[in-house]
């Protein structure tokens, strides 16, 4: 890295960044504690959720059954709608949400799992007149089987991915580190969406699958750079990989943040939110957790 030593530190032209990387270089073992603690906390959050609700994540009607009616109208008042519906259906559990795009109201969504769609629509029509609407109705048994199915799909996807990684690197510990990094990434992301109260939909399940792909990409990049390249110290290879990896993550996060901010579709918004959280956490999982494990592994190996 001699070219880069001209006016900056060892790792980068900018002194601050170089200092930060220097600190990262020295304290990588201590830093490993952070992802471990976060992982344990996440498991605790998910277990708490499981023990209180019987499910490890809140599900929306597309995964548990029920109906959701979206009315793309700016003129309907949400609190008005809520009072009307709770007087009409006092026994039912109804949630009314405002749809927004850039802070501007674009419509309302009503979801419930215990009213028939025709009954609800008729009641809405008597109050608000003819409406332009979108209805999604999911049978509860299908919802349940759907959740089970997609959950199985994620497990299979994960296993297949692990097989490819093992086949590719043929080194048990580094391969395990990649799989572990992707796994903790999913667990932590799940815990965070639990904490901020997201109700998972089928689109959200797809987002977790996308996350496997993205998170494995940066991990593969790191492991390849560290294991398959020669020249320079391990830390130089890690920092080099980090430059590439962070650029990758930055472009992806930029694109999906735009989609999150501007999207009108609930489904896409949820996908983007899960990806943003997952990719941010992936920075930690790849460059602290996986990088730390790889260094420990390589240092042990050279000692032998």
């Amino acid at each position: 890295m001699s070219e880069e030593n001209n006016n900056g530190g060892r790792f980068a032209k900018n002194k601050q960044i170089s200092k930060l990387l220097e600190w990262y270089n020295k304290n990588y073992k201590k830093l490993l504690i952070i992802p471990i603690v976060i992982f344990i906390l996440s498991i605790a959050v998910i277990s708490y959720k499981y023990s209180t609700t019987g499910d490890f994540v809140s599900k929306d009607i597309s995964l548990k059954g029920g109906i959701s009616i979206t009315i793309p109208s700016k003129d309907i008042d949400v609190s008005d709608m809520e009072t009307y519906l709770s007087s009409e259906f006092p026994e039912s559990d109804i949630s009314v949400r405002t749809l927004t795009k850039l802070g501007e109201k674009t419509g309302v969504t009503i979801s419930t799992s215990d009213i028939d769609s025709n009954v609800l629509l008729n009641s809405l029509k008597t109050k608000f007149g003819e409406l332009d609407y979108t209805v999604e109705e999911m049978g509860s048994s299908l919802g349940k089987s759907f959740f089970k199915e997609t959950f199985t799909a994620i497990i299979f996807a994960f296993l297949f991915m692990a097989v490819v990684v093992f086949f590719y690197f043929r080194l048990p510990i580094p391969s395990l580190a990649i799989v572990l990094s992707a796994f903790s990434n999913m667990v932590v992301t799940l815990a965070i969406i639990n904490l901020i109260g997201v109700k998972l939909s089928t689109a959200g399940v797809a987002a977790f699958l996308m996350l496997i792909g993205y998170s494995v990409d940066t991990n593969i990049l790191l492991s390849t750079r560290v294991l398959k390249r020669k020249g320079g110290e391990i830390i130089d290879r890690i920092v080099n990989g980090m430059k590439t990896g962070l650029t990758m993550t930055a472009t992806t996060i930029a694109a999906i943040s735009i989609a999150y901010i501007f999207s009108q579709s609930d489904a896409l918004k949820q996908i983007m939110l899960i990806l943003i959280i997952g990719l941010l956490m992936d920075v930690l999982n790849t460059w602290v957790q996986n990088a730390g494990i790889l260094r420990l592994y390589l240092e042990r190996r050279t000692k032998k």
Partner: protein, 576 residues
């Protein structure tokens, strides 16, 4: 100069350019396309009487018939069409010019017909071919014969305040990309059979649902079976631009089949019919009484055997023993016909052979006919009618009930809004990603090819979708996002690998690009295998996402990425 020559003679670049060209041809973009395209034509409407046909469901968006003007007034969008229709008066002639021809329509009031669960007797006149022997020579003659038939009672409501031409329209598409239901509005219904059924039975159910929807006048439909990982079977029905309630009503009805003589039910679908022959030895064109010609028209008769249960056979015997025998043509028939009803709607009337009078036979032969201008046409019509009838009978005898497990009704205006939104997001995302890439590399030789590759990948994915008739819906958009996102990631890997400032004895391009592709291929395989389980999981509802992602990353890795590496290599070779 020599660099640009090198660029355009590079095989990888040429492959990419050729694929992009194919993609553009497949997408067939006409951004300024005006007019309204025909989605469907209502049966017995002014439009169907004038000879306008419903488009085939498999036809590509750009090939659908498009209305250009009505009464020489240009029709640019659906608002023009609806405002024109609203201004029409009864019994006027309307000239509709489409891209395929000009039609003359006579305006009719908008009507709505409701079929009731009661029946009435109706007198109809029928043309019957008879062969008489006059003075020792055979003479074919057509006589008019009146007979009373039982039909379900219907109420037709005429809206004498509005005219309906009977054409379902939507704004003319500007590309061949099929929009999924979430983007264009419509209804999606997922049905689950009450119990597990064989693939043959499933095929019968599928063709039955299609037939019902076609009879109803809906043509832009997708009916297919989906299965999930646990082996559950579902039937997915997607109808563009239809109202949710009417469709649900139409397809979730079990399909009650009844065969009646006068008002008495002889047998009904389900347990009464034990077997329907569909093999060539007992079904097909009637060998004894095949095709005949009269008045320039050809008629061909078909026949096939069915087996009735003993109870149904006994019922038939009881009913037919009091009927009279009439002679029509060479055959002796009973004076009443066997009338077939499906969900209380009259489907067909069959002659009953006189030999069946009063006898409890379980094997009976059902016959019918088809007409056409040529013998070939009549044969074809006849066999088509037979197949339809068999389908109806088989469906009627299917004891399986379909449960509606999921419905989605998407408002068309919301769908249209969403397309604009998705395009806007796409553009903005590309701009921001380009900006980041440019700031990071500060070299146009790297960032420009990156952006061009990103755009060409999106084009190719959409081209493949247009080519295979794949619907672009929200799930597919998510898939495109993954593919393009992974694409940018891979290109960053290539760029960094090439630009790595590392002391090496000699600068080896091949090795560097090989290094980059080692990472890229690993990422590709992991994404690919991660998407495989989704192809089937959850009634295939996320299949669109999985397929688009797989197509997208494959296009990227095998076509776009090698070209990108080649371009950057050519542009940077003597600069490093």
């Amino acid at each position: 100069m020599s660099k640009s020559k090198k660029l355009f003679t590079n095989i990888r670049v040429i492959i990419l350019l050729v694929v992009i060209l194919f993609a553009i041809v497949a997408i067939n973009p006409h951004p300024l396309n005006k007019g309204v395209s025909i989605r469907n034509i209502k049966i017995n409407s002014s439009a169907s009487l004038a000879g306008i046909e419903s488009p085939k469901p498999t036809s590509t968006p750009m090939s659908k018939e498009k209305i250009i003007s009505i009464n020489n007034q240009p029709i640019n969008n659906i608002n023009d069409y609806y405002s024109f229709e609203a201004g029409l008066k009864l019994n006027r002639t309307v000239r509709i010019k489409t891209n395929k021809g000009t039609y003359r329509l006579i305006t009719k009031y908008r009507t709505e017909t409701i079929v009731l669960n009661e029946t009435i007797n109706k007198t109809v006149t029928e043309e019957v071919n008879v062969t008489k022997i006059i003075n020792g020579t055979k003479v074919n003659k057509t006589i008019n014969k009146t007979k009373i038939i039982t039909v379900p009672k219907t109420i037709t409501k005429v809206y004498n305040d509005s005219i309906d031409l009977g054409i379902g329209v939507y704004n003319a598409p500007t590309t061949n990309i099929r929009k999924g239901l979430d983007l264009q509005g419509g209804t999606r219904v997922l049905l689950e059979p009450e119990k597990k059924i064989s693939t043959d039975d499933m095929d019968i159910i599928l063709s039955n649902i299609k037939q019902r929807l076609n009879v109803y006048g809906l043509s832009d439909i997708v009916v297919r079976t989906v299965a999930d990982l646990s082996g559950n079977q579902y039937i997915l029905v997607e109808i563009a631009g239809a109202n949710e309630e009417e469709v649900k009503e139409l397809i979730s009805r079990q399909g009650k089949f009844e065969a009646k003589i006068k008002n008495d039910v002889v047998f009904s679908g389900g347990n009464d019919i034990t077997y329907i022959c569909r093999s060539s030895d007992c079904s097909g064109i009637d060998p004894n009484n095949g095709c005949s010609q009269s008045n320039g028209q050809w008629f061909c008769r078909f026949r096939f055997s069915i087996s009735l249960s003993p109870e149904a056979a006994q019922r038939q015997a009881d009913i037919t023993k009091n009927l009279d025998i009439v002679t029509e043509g060479k055959q002796d028939y009973l004076n009443e016909t066997l009338d077939l009803y499906l969900d209380n709607q009259h489907v067909d009337s069959l002659n009953i052979g006189s030999e069946l009078k009063g006898r409890a036979v379980t094997d009976i032969q059902i016959s019918g006919s088809g007409a056409g201008a040529t013998k070939q046409e009549a044969l074809f019509e006849s066999l088509k009618n037979m197949k339809r009838l068999q389908t109806v009978l088989i469906t009627g005898s299917l004891p399986v009930k379909l449960d509606v497990v999921k419905t989605d009704a998407i408002s068309p205006s919301l769908g249209g809004e969403f397309v604009k939104n998705a395009l806007f997001i796409g553009m903005l995302a590309i701009i921001v990603v380009s900006l980041i890439v440019f700031l990071r590399y500060r070299r146009l030789e790297v960032s420009l090819p990156m952006i061009v590759t990103l755009l060409s990948e999106t084009t190719i994915i959409l081209g493949v979708a247009a080519l295979i008739g794949w619907n672009i819906d929200i799930a597919a958009i998510a898939g495109i996002i993954v593919a393009v996102g992974t694409g940018v990631d891979d290109q960053i890997v290539i760029a960094d690998e090439i630009l790595r400032k590392e002391k090496q004895v000699f600068f080896n391009w091949k090795q560097r690009i090989k290094n980059a592709f080692f990472i890229i291929m690993a990422a590709y395989f992991t994404t690919f295998v991660a998407m495989l389980p989704l192809m089937r999981a959850g009634a295939g509802l996320l299949k669109g996402f999985a397929i688009t992602t797989i197509i997208g990353v494959s296009v990227g890795v095998f076509i776009a990425r090698p070209a990108f590496a080649a371009v950057v290599e050519i542009l940077l070779k003597d600069k490093l």
